[in-house]
C-alpha cells in the first residue's frame, strides 16, 4: 500500500491498473517540480542574460563566470550542495523546494544563453532605426526588440522544458517522491519492477509529447510575420 492505494497482484494488467493512481500522484509531483524549476530558470536566466550584457565589466564578468560554473557542474552536485550545505547555515528548505531550486539554477545557465542569442539576433540596424526615431530605450526594448526576439526564443525554451522534466528523477536522491521514486518504492515492495518502471516510461512519453505539442502550439500562435528567423 502506498498513498492509501492497495495493489492487486492477480495479473499484470490488474497490477498496472491498481498502481496507476499511485504513479499519477508521483507524476503530479514531477510536473510541479518541472514547472517550478522551469519558472525559476526563465526568471533567473533573464537576470543572468541582462547582467552578462551589462556595459560594466565588473558586472558582466562575474555573471559569466557564475553561469559557466553552473553549466559545467553536474545537477547532482548542485542538488547535494543545496540540500546538505544550506542547512548548515540555517537555511532549511523542504526537499521538493530544494530540488526545484536546483533544477531552476542549473537550467538558468542554459536559458540565459537562449535569451542572449535571441536578443542579439535582433540586428543593430533595428536599434539604430529606433534611435533615429527618438523612441525611448524602454519602448525600443519592449516593442522593437522583444517582439522580434520572442519567436526565436520560444522553440529553444521548449526544448529545455522537456529536458527539465526528464531531469526531475534526479530529485529522488534527496527523497522527493516524484514519479520514478514512487515506482521504485512500488517495485521494492512488490518485487515487480517491470510493470511500474514500464509505466513510468509510458507516462514520461505522454508528458513530454504533451509539453512539446504545447510549445509548438505556442510557437504557431506567436505573431512572426516578416521577422527574419534563421
Amino acid at each position: 500500500m502506498l498513498f492509501g492505494f492497495e495493489w492487486d497482484l492477480s495479473s499484470p494488467l490488474a497490477f498496472a491498473l491498481s498502481i496507476l493512481p499511485i504513479l499519477l500522484i508521483g507524476m503530479w509531483v514531477t510536473i510541479q517540480a518541472a514547472v517550478l524549476g522551469f519558472a525559476v530558470a526563465l526568471v533567473l536566466g533573464l537576470v543572468w542574460a541582462v547582467l552578462k550584457a551589462a556595459r560594466s565589466r565588473f558586472i558582466a564578468w562575474p555573471a559569466s563566470v557564475v553561469t559557466e560554473f553552473i553549466r559545467d557542474t553536474p545537477l547532482l552536485v548542485q542538488l547535494f550542495f543545496l540540500y546538505y550545505v544550506l542547512p548548515e547555515y540555517g537555511i532549511v528548505l523542504p526537499a521538493f523546494m530544494t530540488g526545484a531550486l536546483a533544477l531552476g539554477i542549473q537550467y538558468s545557465a542554459y536559458t540565459s544563453e537562449v535569451y542572449r542569442a535571441g536578443l542579439e539576433a535582433v540586428a543593430k540596424d533595428q536599434h539604430e532605426a529606433a534611435r533615429a526615431l527618438n523612441l525611448s530605450a524602454a519602448r525600443t526594448f519592449t516593442h522593437i526588440v522583444v517582439p522580434q526576439a520572442v519567436p526565436r526564443i520560444v522553440p529553444a525554451m521548449g526544448n529545455y522544458l522537456v529536458s527539465i522534466m526528464k531531469d526531475v528523477p534526479v530529485l529522488s536522491v534527496v527523497t522527493v517522491l516524484e514519479m520514478l521514486n514512487v515506482a521504485k518504492i512500488v517495485g521494492d515492495r512488490t518485487f515487480d519492477y517491470l510493470v511500474p518502471l514500464s509505466m513510468v516510461g509510458g507516462l514520461y512519453l505522454i508528458m513530454t509529447l504533451v509539453a512539446s505539442a504545447g510549445v509548438r502550439l505556442l510557437d504557431g500562435w506567436l505573431p512572426k510575420q516578416g521577422i527574419p528567423l534563421k
Binding site: A129, A132, L133, N134, L135
Partner: protein, 256 residues
C-alpha cells in the same frame, strides 16, 4: 539661407587606429540640398551617423540649429551631451537608411505611426491621418496594412522615407538610399527624393553614388576623400570642371 543649420568645426572621428574624419570643417545652410560623394571609407556616412547621434565624436564641435549636438553647457563650459540633450536635438533630424531598417513585425502603417504616437504624443487617429498623407505622397496609399517583407525594396525604402518624414524633421539625412536596391527600383525612390528636394524649408543631406541624380537635385556637392572635403561646389562646377586631380579620377571611375 543665411545661418548654417549644420556646422562641423574641426570634427575628428576615429575607429580604433583609423581616423575617419580628420578635423573636418563642413557647413550646411538652412533649406540647402547637399550631396556628399566620394570613395567608400571616406567618411561620408559617418557624417550622417554623427548627425543622427548614432556615432559620437572624438574631437571638435558639431552644432545643429546653432546648438552643440554632442555637447551641452555645463558649469565649466561645454560637457558631453546627456541622453536628454541628445533626445531633444534628435527631434530636428530624420534619417533614411541604406538597408531601410523598417520594423519587420509591424505593418507599414505601424512603422510610420509608432514614433509620432510614442515620441511626439500624437493621437492614434492623427498619426494615422499623417501616415496616410505621407503614404499617398510616396505612392503607397494602398499598402498601409502590408508588412515590409511583402513589399519590394523600392517600396520599402519609400516607407522608410515616409517614416522619417512623419516626425517632421527640419533636416533629412539620406545614407545611400538606393545602394541596396535592384537597378530597376532605383528610379521610384529617386523620384520621391527629388520631389522632397523641391521643398523650400527642408534641409537635405544625401550620401549617394547616383551622380546624375546628385547633379540634378543638389545646391551643392561635396567630394569627400580621406576624412576631408577635398572639393566642393555647385553641381555644375564639380562635375563639369573639377579642380582637383583626385576628384577627376573619382568622377572618371564612377561615371564610366
Amino acid at each position: 539661407m543665411s545661418d548654417p543649420i549644420i556646422k562641423f568645426d574641426k570634427v575628428v572621428k576615429r575607429f580604433g587606429d583609423l581616423t575617419v574624419l580628420d578635423a573636418l570643417d563642413f557647413e550646411v545652410m538652412r533649406g540647402e540640398k547637399v550631396s556628399i560623394i566620394g570613395p567608400s571609407g571616406s567618411g561620408k556616412s559617418t557624417v550622417l551617423r554623427i548627425l543622427m547621434t548614432l556615432e559620437g565624436i572624438d574631437g571638435g564641435l558639431v552644432t545643429v540649429g546653432g546648438e552643440p549636438l554632442w555637447h551641452e553647457p555645463g558649469p565649466d563650459g561645454l560637457r558631453p551631451a546627456s541622453e536628454a540633450h541628445l533626445r531633444k536635438m534628435r527631434a530636428q533630424l530624420g534619417m533614411v537608411f541604406q538597408q531601410f531598417n523598417l520594423f519587420p513585425h509591424m505593418t507599414v502603417l505601424r512603422n510610420i505611426t509608432e514614433a509620432p504616437v510614442k515620441v511626439l504624443g500624437l493621437s492614434k487617429a492623427d498619426a494615422k491621418l499623417r501616415a496616410e498623407e505621407l503614404l499617398e505622397r510616396v505612392g503607397l496609399a494602398d499598402q498601409a496594412q502590408k508588412y515590409p517583407h511583402q513589399l519590394s525594396g523600392g517600396q520599402q525604402q519609400r516607407v522608410g522615407i515616409a517614416r522619417a518624414l512623419a516626425m517632421r524633421p527640419s533636416i533629412l539625412l539620406f545614407d545611400e538610399p538606393t545602394s541596396a536596391l535592384d537597378p530597376e527600383l532605383v528610379g521610384e525612390v529617386l523620384n520621391v527624393i527629388g520631389q522632397l528636394a523641391e521643398e523650400h524649408d527642408l534641409t537635405m543631406l544625401l550620401v549617394t553614388h547616383e551622380m546624375r541624380f546628385a547633379r540634378e537635385i543638389s545646391d551643392r556637392v561635396c567630394f569627400f576623400d580621406q576624412g576631408q572635403i577635398r572639393e566642393e561646389g555647385t553641381p555644375e562646377e564639380l562635375f563639369s570642371d573639377p579642380n582637383e586631380d583626385r576628384t577627376r579620377e573619382f568622377l572618371k571611375a564612377v561615371l564610366d
